[in-house]
């Protein structure tokens, strides 16, 4: 127990006592929740079933980390558990339930850190993190996360999903291609709520002094993935099945803000790695490649287009301080285009992403404001994407994504230059 936790005080005494009473384990499953009483039961059942069926002889700890639920999430978990979540002990005495939480809202990074610390303290060989909000968890998806770290010696497992072609557009247009261009690894789901990691990676991440940094708070999962990629840990993608569409689009802006801020912050904290120019590398995939579905859904394109146009016009002064004159002028010209002829080219999109990242690095304005100014531009890109791919099939969309990735590669040196020297805003 002399590990990284010794100098940390963010864990409660009760939680530490529970951990000490468990001793060493082979596997650890962390379930993160916040007001997820309606879904946590399914996640718990899937996790318990997977562990009983696929890892019957392993010593296992299930750790529930609650970020301040007010809707009886913990009670729902206890009701759903058949392996002793209420008593803390599994029937076989090789499976133990531990829980911790906070009365106040915990930052997601603290919740991830709690699981990492528990894994490190219990000397777990492999650990999976599940989100209690997952709509359709299956035992096989839990197994798909744990198997590579426990049996195949991988250090980080990123999920792969089958999902609707209009979902995850920030991931598809921004997180994936940018990460691939700079880190060389094609991780599809960089900011996933389900992932797995080895005890080695947990120990390494806990030893880093970045946990208090504000940039980490919105994207600890992303930081974990990037830390694994940029420090020689073995990474893999594992197919988990279908990812259902989000029930509500509430919090879209916050999700964009956290993802963009998180990735820009990660770029800054790992610049010594990617500024050398990481060579493109493949990433092993377990199970089928991800799939795109295209059932009919209702999207208000017109509203997205209007929000882009008004956003670019209203934020013109702010954007002029972030983008260089030419890029800003091109963006304004584009905003004057009509709905039908509107096309947000890959070249312009990539240039804007790189200029925003460099402006973030040079802190040309308050960073939180900078990231928010990115939202209307993203909406413009989304509108263009929706229009272009209205009737596109999976192959055409993959080809388009490949073109986008190549554009990110092509403009990489421009970005390096911009990153190293402070760029010129229009004002």
């Amino acid at each position: 127990m002399e590990r990284q936790v010794s100098e940390d005080s963010f864990l409660s005494d009760d939680f530490l006592r529970q951990l000490i009473s468990v001793g060493n384990v082979d596997l650890l499953v962390g379930i993160l929740s916040r007001n997820d009483s309606s879904t946590i039961g399914k996640v718990v059942s899937a996790a318990e079933e997977a562990l009983l069926r696929k890892f019957p002889r392993e010593r296992i700890a299930l750790v529930h980390v609650d970020g301040g639920s007010k809707d009886g999430t913990s009670e729902a978990l206890k009701e759903a558990s058949t392996l002793g979540a209420s008593s803390g002990m599994g029937s076989l005495r090789t499976l133990r339930w531990i829980s911790t939480g906070s009365d106040n809202s915990w930052q997601p990074a603290n919740m991830v850190r709690t699981v990492l610390t528990a894994a490190d303290l219990l000397h777990a060989k492999g650990c999976a993190v599940l989100a209690a909000s997952t709509e359709n968890p299956t035992p096989s998806s839990v197994e798909s996360l744990l198997h590579p770290v426990y049996r195949e010696d991988y250090d980080f497992v990123a999920p792969l999903y089958s999902r609707h072609k209009y979902d995850g557009l920030l991931t598809r247009n921004f997180l994936y291609p940018l990460c691939r261009a700079l880190y060389g690894k094609p991780v599809r789901e960089l900011r996933a709520s389900e992932f797995a990691f080895s005890g080695r990676l947990a120990g390494y991440c806990l030893s880093r002094g970045e946990w208090q940094n504000e940039g980490l708070q919105g994207g600890a999962e992303m930081w974990l993935a990037i830390t694994a990629m940029s420090n020689g840990f073995r990474c893999v993608q594992s197919y988990l099945g279908e990812k259902p569409r989000a029930k509500s689009n509430a919090g879209v802006v916050d999700a964009i803000r956290h993802a963009v801020n998180g990735l820009f912050w990660c770029l800054e904290s790992t610049e010594s790695y990617w500024l050398k120019g990481a060579a493109p590398d493949s990433l092993p995939t377990i199970g089928p490649e991800h799939k795109l579905t295209s059932e009919s859904i209702r999207v208000e394109r017109k509203r997205i287009f209007q929000m882009y146009k008004s956003g670019v016009a209203e934020l013109s002064q702010i954007l002029s301080g972030i983008l260089n004159q030419e890029t800003h002028a091109e963006l304004n010209r584009l905003a004057d285009a009509g709905e039908e002829e509107f096309r947000f080219s890959n070249a312009l999109w990539v240039r804007i992403v790189y200029e925003f990242a460099a402006a973030y690095h040079h802190s040309v304005i308050n960073r939180s404001h900078l990231v928010q100014a990115f939202v209307p531009i993203y909406r413009g890109r989304v509108y263009s994407f929706l229009t272009q791919h209205r009737s596109a099939g999976s192959d055409a969309m993959e080809a388009d994504l490949e073109n986008l990735c190549q554009e990110f590669d092509r403009q990489r040196n421009f970005f390096f230059e911009r990153w190293r020297t402070k760029g010129q805003g229009a004002s």
Binding site: H164, Y166, D167, G168, L169, L170, T171, R191, R245, A246, K247, S248, N249, A250, V252, V253, A255, I256, A259, I297, R298, V299, E300, R303, I304, Q306, M307, S310, G311, E314, L315, I318, G321, S363, V364, I365, N366, R367, H369, Q372, A373, V375, P376, Y378, V382, L386, S427
Partner: protein
């Protein structure tokens, strides 16, 4: 008669010569103090500028949005502005000390009261500066929030916030230097009250449907499921 006139002239001449003999050395001392003050202030300006450059004040000012404000007002960068301010404050102090050497009683009183006001004027400028920064920051935050939420008239929201903060700041600064305290208080109360009342009426008439939706969403949780924007992640 003639002797009396000559005597009076002699007296006046002697008085003038005596006064001049007393005044000229003081004037010289004043000029020397002012010159030394200029030199001292100039050296101090260079030192302050160097220290501010080392501590990267311009970068902090850029981040906080202060540099943009200064550019708008056609003022120099923060480092230059602060070092020039130090120069003038120090030199003005020396000038006032120099003038006091002249021994003109009424002038001395004026200078004393002006020196007494200096700390308050300095604090008032500080309040103005911080207030302008806050106005800039919060109006920009409001603009971004309203634009991203897709609400109408983002500039109106943003400028209203700016005006309210600037009003508050100016009234606080004037209060600090003690200029027409009651008048300022009354004027601020009237303007602020009128602004809030105007906004309340405008929101009541123009935004009652929006208000209803917000209240229903907050307290009844019956926001209909809308699929108008694809999930970003």
């Amino acid at each position: 008669m003639k002797e009396m006139i000559v005597h009076a002239f002699q007296q006046a001449h002697e008085n003038f010569a005596r006064m001049l003999a007393e005044f000229l050395p003081r004037l010289l001392v004043m000029l020397i103090i002012i010159a030394i003050g200029w030199l001292f202030a100039y050296v101090l300006k260079f030192l302050v500028r160097a220290i501010l450059r080392i501590s990267r004040v311009d970068k902090v000012s850029e981040q906080a949005g202060a540099s943009r404000l200064l550019r708008k007002a056609e003022l120099p960068a923060m480092t230059e502005l602060l070092s020039r301010a130090i120069f003038w404050i120090v030199w003005l102090g020396f000038i006032m000390v120099g003038i006091s050497v002249l021994g003109i009683v009424s002038l001395q009183q004026q200078i004393a009261s002006l020196i007494g006001l200096l700390p308050q004027i300095f604090v008032a400028f500080l309040i103005l500066f911080v207030g302008m920064l806050a106005a800039n920051f919060f109006s920009r935050a409001a603009l971004l929030a309203v634009v991203n939420a897709g609400l109408p008239s983002p500039k109106v929201f943003s400028e209203t916030i700016r005006v309210v903060i600037v009003l508050l700041t100016v009234s606080m600064a004037l209060e600090q230097v003690g200029l027409g305290r009651e008048t300022i208080l009354i004027a601020f109360s009237i303007v602020f009250g009128a602004l809030m009342l105007g906004l309340a009426i405008a929101f009541g008439f123009g935004g009652r449907h929006l208000a209803r939706r917000i209240l229903e969403k907050r307290f009844l949780g019956n926001e209909k499921h809308r699929d108008d924007e694809p999930s970003p992640l």
